[in-house]
């Protein structure tokens, strides 16, 4: 009867089941998980002394107290020894982050594990090379030799910049410090190219230079601050859906007043400790707004601003704070740079413009009422009874990172926090919510390619999407751990060009002597490829992934990567920079290998080729890649961080993710407790010390002072405010043709491109198609209802989507899931990038919507179409 096979019983881990420490492979929160593994055929008993969990399974569990175990937390996998094992992957009760809580993503960690008889059987098992229209399996030796010869050949002939890449730089999802170190060492040193881009964007850049160049890294608070804050500001961050456990486990209890005792311990003597207030800045009425309203309707303020106007709104709140005298004079005068503060007052606060006039301009542009802006300022900065400063924790994410004027917007929010004294104290902070976890370690000091910062720091960096689309100097393109055919902005145009260029090379290879054949073997094939790259504008593409992703359809080589649990790895979470080990508990499918191993092999083969021709200089750059195991890679990367025998105050000068001195042995010992980066070695005791909260004593600048910045001038007239990529939609009749704003985002249900989720029945039924959300008012006008299929289109591209009618998007704005395995709504995003940072503005374009004929019966029958933002009973 059920829509898919269900279990009404799962096997019990016996007393002697092996236990491994790990962390969820998915979002920024990094919930701790424990893995129990035991041979198939064995089972523990119901009594606490008969099973590994010590739980009395003969009784019904108690809500919120007993370990949660669901059907999705069990699987049967192959161990490194080739034997079959039961695994149970359960949320760790002993993790300070999740305390036994878990999300719809993490709850499926076991279900998503590779199993040859399970949905994830679709994993890549062998290296594949393209021969004409097909992929053929080859050994690693063959595939590595081919790639090494092509990369070396291209680099020798056209220079290092002929090699481009788009690769993960983060933690979780099977990529951690180890893989990132290997990627960096390969491209920065062995190759030395500047043509780098990060998995979710067209360039190699920080998403938040606007904050970093102020002297604060974006990961500066600790998760406890969400329990201690007087006011939590979620700015362009839908935490309930994208950092689910952080929101319900730490923010909501604060809103409910359940953390008052914790506050009393951390607050000053006599300081009032009350249940938190929450401000959500988001054009949509997201679940993060409506859940908070269900908990504490009087303590939630929703600022529903017009798209892309965030920096003006942030500056307006700051202006109110200034006018009311609520700013933190002590912090500003002692710990910030007063010279640049003048610039901030003039350009950001616009003190030359009278307050009333300024506020009326802000109202006109942002669409937010003056009273609400003033209320937000009050909630952030109006002193509490007794004159105590309010503690505000501001958490922002893609709503503004991928907004208009990335640099200015991030700077405006980081500066609002500084003006109101909200860094380095319990219950304060201003930083990212995070998307995925982090694990950034790259050889910057020894890099052969000079890396740049924002326009104010030697940049902006080149746009590699444009480079591989249009510049014949791009010859080789590596895509690893990402699926840009779905995820890059303006993706319809992007994949059309990458397809054309890769096909040009493919065709050249098979047109040998006018026959359809190709040369055989890596040596001959590499020679032919190099010839093709010389004679055509072709592009040689290598894809490294766990699955044969959408982008792989145009690849020339596809390499199978090991995933989470198939190799030990390390990462940090975003909400407290907690470094932990994610241990290996199973074997990768087939011959799949960890990314670090793959990069190591390519570099080592290049070294052999250079040595064979006597080029010792280049061979030297390809040396040092012959790591034996993940622990060795971790250690190699750790050595790149600067000397961390520094005082507590000087943590501010350490790279955010510094883990120098930490070993696998240490991490296995501390388990779920982990250690918070940046890690210091105490100069007195020689012990490793974590950093709970950053910038307690000084900021991360040479003089320790926060640097201010005056944001760009702006006009309240949309024609003058927005860039040409948007204003073209206001002109020449386009305003009538494309009457809706379009914005996009994520859902709680599936992770990134759904590379795992697309195989899990629960997810496939729940989100069967890419979708849009339409306000009931617009739905009436368009004559569409939930469950209809529409085409959304504009001057950039087209997308097909399932319709959900709900009041999350404001009238006049269509919201869409950013991408889904059945289609990408990034077809609709423009090619705008911030000229200061090369960060795209994914979050706004203009569209038209047209209902398509008929429905999909399966969807109407099996998919819930109920509103996802109504929690009232």
């Amino acid at each position: 009867m059920a829509l898919f096979e269900r279990m009404d019983r799962i096997p019990i881990p016996p007393k002697d089941a092996q236990k491994f420490t790990t962390v969820c492979q998915y979002c920024n929160v990094g919930c701790g998980y424990n893995v129990y593994r035991w041979p198939v055929g064995k089972e523990g008993g119901l009594k606490p002394e008969e099973n590994a969990l010590g739980i009395d399974f003969s009784k019904q569990g108690v809500a919120l107290q007993t370990q949660s175990i669901t059907e999705t937390m069990h699987n049967v996998v192959k161990g490194e020894d080739g034997k079959l094992y039961n695994i149970l992957i359960v949320p760790a009760m002993d993790s300070p982050i999740n305390r036994g809580n878990y999300s719809i993503r993490g709850g499926t960690n076991a279900q998503a594990a590779y199993s040859p008889t399970k949905p994830t059987r679709n994993r890549l098992r062998y290296p594949l090379i393209r021969v004409g229209d097909e992929f053929m399996p080859v050994s690693w030796d063959e595939a590595i030799d081919l790639i090494a010869r092509v990369v070396k050949g291209v680099k020798d002939k056209w220079g290092p910049d002929s090699v481009a890449m788009k690769i993960h730089d983060h933690g979780g999802s099977g990529a951690g410090f180890e893989d990132n170190w290997a990627v960096g060492k390969f491209f920065f040193i062995a190759v030395g190219t500047r043509m780098l881009s990060i998995h979710n964007r067209p360039a190699y850049n920080s998403e938040v230079w606007g904050q970093r160049e102020r002297g604060t890294h974006e990961l500066n608070y600790t998760y406890e601050d969400a329990r201690l804050a007087d006011t939590i500001v979620l700015w362009g961050a839908n935490a309930f859906e994208t950092a689910s456990v952080f929101y319900t486990e730490h923010m909501i209890p604060n809103l409910q007043g359940a953390t008052t005792e914790e506050k009393k311990k951390e607050y000053l003597k006599g300081e009032p400790a009350e249940p938190a207030r929450m401000i959500v800045v988001d054009p949509r009425r997201t679940a993060s707004v409506t859940v908070a309203e269900a908990v504490a309707p009087d303590r939630v303020l929703h600022l529903r601003l017009n798209l892309g106007t965030d920096y003006v709104l942030a500056n307006a709140i700051a202006r109110v704070v200034w006018e009311k005298g609520w700013w933190d004079k002590e912090l500003v005068e002692k710990r910030t740079d007063l010279k640049t503060f003048e610039d901030y007052k003039k350009k950001s606060l616009m003190l030359d413009v009278p307050y009333d006039e300024f506020m009326s301009r802000v109202e006109r542009l942002t669409g937010v009422k003056r009273a609400d802006i003033e209320k937000a300022a009050e909630w952030i900065a109006k002193p509490k009874a007794g004159g105590f400063r309010r503690r505000a924790l501001t958490i922002y994410e893609k709503g503004i990172i991928w907004g208009y004027k990335n640099y200015d917007t991030i700077a405006a929010i980081a500066q609002l926090a500084a003006l109101t004294g909200n860094y380095g104290k319990p219950g304060t902070g201003c930083g990212r919510l995070g998307g995925h976890q982090e694990g950034y370690v790259r050889p910057h000091g020894t890099s052969r390619a000079k890396l740049v910062g924002s326009i104010y720091a030697g940049g902006p960096p080149p746009n590699i999407d444009e480079y591989v689309k249009n510049d014949p100097r791009a010859k080789v393109y590596f895509v690893a751990g990402t699926d840009p055919y779905l995820s890059t902005p303006n993706s319809q145009a992007y994949k059309k060009r990458v397809h054309e260029r890769t096909l040009t090379l493919t065709k050249y290879l098979s047109e040998q002597a006018k026959l359809a054949g190709e040369p055989a073997g890596s040596e001959e094939r590499a020679k032919r490829i190099l010839e093709g790259l010389e004679k055509t504008d072709g592009l040689f593409m290598v894809v490294i992934n766990m699955y044969e992703i959408e982008t792989a359809r145009d690849a020339h080589v596809i390499l199978p990567a090991a995933g989470w649990g198939e190799t030990p790895t390390t990462s940090i979470n975003c909400n407290s920079r907690l470094l932990r080990i994610y241990d290996q508990f199973m074997a990768p499918p087939g011959d799949a290998k960890p990314d670090w191993w793959i990069w190591g092999r390519i570099a080592t083969r290049m070294k052999e080729l250079y040595e064979a021709e006597g080029n010792r200089e280049e061979a030297k750059y390809c040396a040092g890649f012959d790591w034996k195991d993940a622990a060795e890679v971790f250690k190699d990367g750790g050595k790149d961080f600067p000397d961390n025998r520094v005082s507590e105050a000087d943590e501010a000068m350490l790279p955010a993710e510094c883990y120098r001195g930490v070993t696998y042995e240490y991490l296995r010992k501390v388990g779920q407790k982990g250690i918070q980066v940046p890690v210091r070695i105490d100069p007195k005791t020689g012990e490793l010390v974590g950093t709970k909260r950053r910038y307690v004593h000084r900021f991360g600048t040479p003089d320790g002072k926060f640097k201010w910045y005056g944001t760009d001038p702006w006009e309240p007239d949309p024609m003058k405010f927005y860039p040409p990529q948007i204003t073209k939609y206001f002109q020449d009749g386009n305003d009538r043709k494309f009457p809706f704003w379009f914005t996009n985002g994520r859902t709680q249900i599936f992770w990134q491109t759904g590379y795992n989720d697309r195989y899990l029945p629960e997810k496939v039924y729940t989100i069967p198609l890419p979708y849009i959300e339409v306000n009931p008012e617009d739905a009436r006008r368009l004559g569409i209802k939930s469950g209809d299929i529409v085409e959304v289109y504009n001057l950039e591209g087209n997308a097909i989507a399932l319709v959900y009618v709900n009041d999350a998007p404001p009238p006049g704005t269509i919201y869409g899931i950013m991408y889904h395995w059945k289609g990408s709504l990034n077809h609709l995003t423009t090619d705008y990038t911030d000229p200061k940072t090369t960060i795209p503005w994914y979050k706004a374009s203009r569209v038209a919507v047209r209902k398509l004929k008929g429905n999909l019966e399966d969807v109407l029958k099996n998919t819930s179409l109920l509103p996802i933002n109504d929690f009232t009973t």
Binding site: M1, A2, L3, E5, R6, M7, D8, R9, I10, P11, P39, V40, G41, K42, E43, L46, F57, S58, K59, Q60, G61, V62, A63, L64, T66, S68, I69, T70, E71, T72, H74, V76, N86, G100, N101, Y102, I104, G106, G107, T117, K118, F240, S244, V245, T248, A287, A294, Q748, I749, E762, Y765, T766, N862, T863, S864, L866, I868, F871, T872, T873
Partner: protein, 166 residues
């Protein structure tokens, strides 16, 4: 005692004896099914659309809820195919779910489940759908019986906790 066979997602390791029987799917299925009681839970004459009826199933420590949805539902019984029943413990962390506006909401972490769509967890943290209770409708008497559960009830590793009669 009425037996319902529940199909399994996979053949999982139970006992050593079961491991030896893995080659015979039929036997594995019979061995791993749970012996569910058959319990009368309602009569159609007492049901009103949208008014949930609470009961316990398969034992007194497992709260469940039956609803006449007023529209045809997945696994629905009765003349209109609109009567469904579910375990009322949220599959996320075991808090009770409550019914309103055509869906179940959990007040602990705000997971929501659609009773017309097999208990689909369409919003919130719960990674598994709400276990649906297999119902049988007796047209002659109007009685509705619970006969089994599809999916694992929260707080258990097997739905039927009481010792099985041989």
């Amino acid at each position: 005692m009425f037996m319902t066979k529940i199909s399994r997602r996979t053949f999982i390791g139970g006992s050593a004896a079961m491991g030896a029987l893995l080659t015979s799917p039929e036997l594995v299925k019979a061995l791993t099914s749970q012996p569910y009681p058959r319990v009368k839970v309602a009569n159609i004459r007492n049901l009103r659309v949208g008014e949930p009826v609470s009961f316990n199933y398969p034992d007194e420590n497992s709260p469940a809820v039956l609803i006449k949805l007023g529209e045809r539902a997945h696994g629905g019984v009765g003349p209109d195919g609109d009567i469904v029943a579910y375990s009322s413990l949220c599959t996320h962390m075991g808090c009770p779910v409550s019914y309103s506006k055509k869906r179940f909401v959990c007040a602990c972490h705000y997971s929501m489940f659609d009773p017309a769509k097999n208990g689909q967890s369409y919003q919130g943290h719960a990674s598994e759908w709400l276990p649906q209770i297999i119902l049988r409708f007796e047209p002659r008497t109007g009685d509705i019986y619970a006969e089994g559960v599809e999916g694992l009830i929260w707080g258990r590793v097997r739905n039927v906790l009481k010792a099985t009669k041989k």
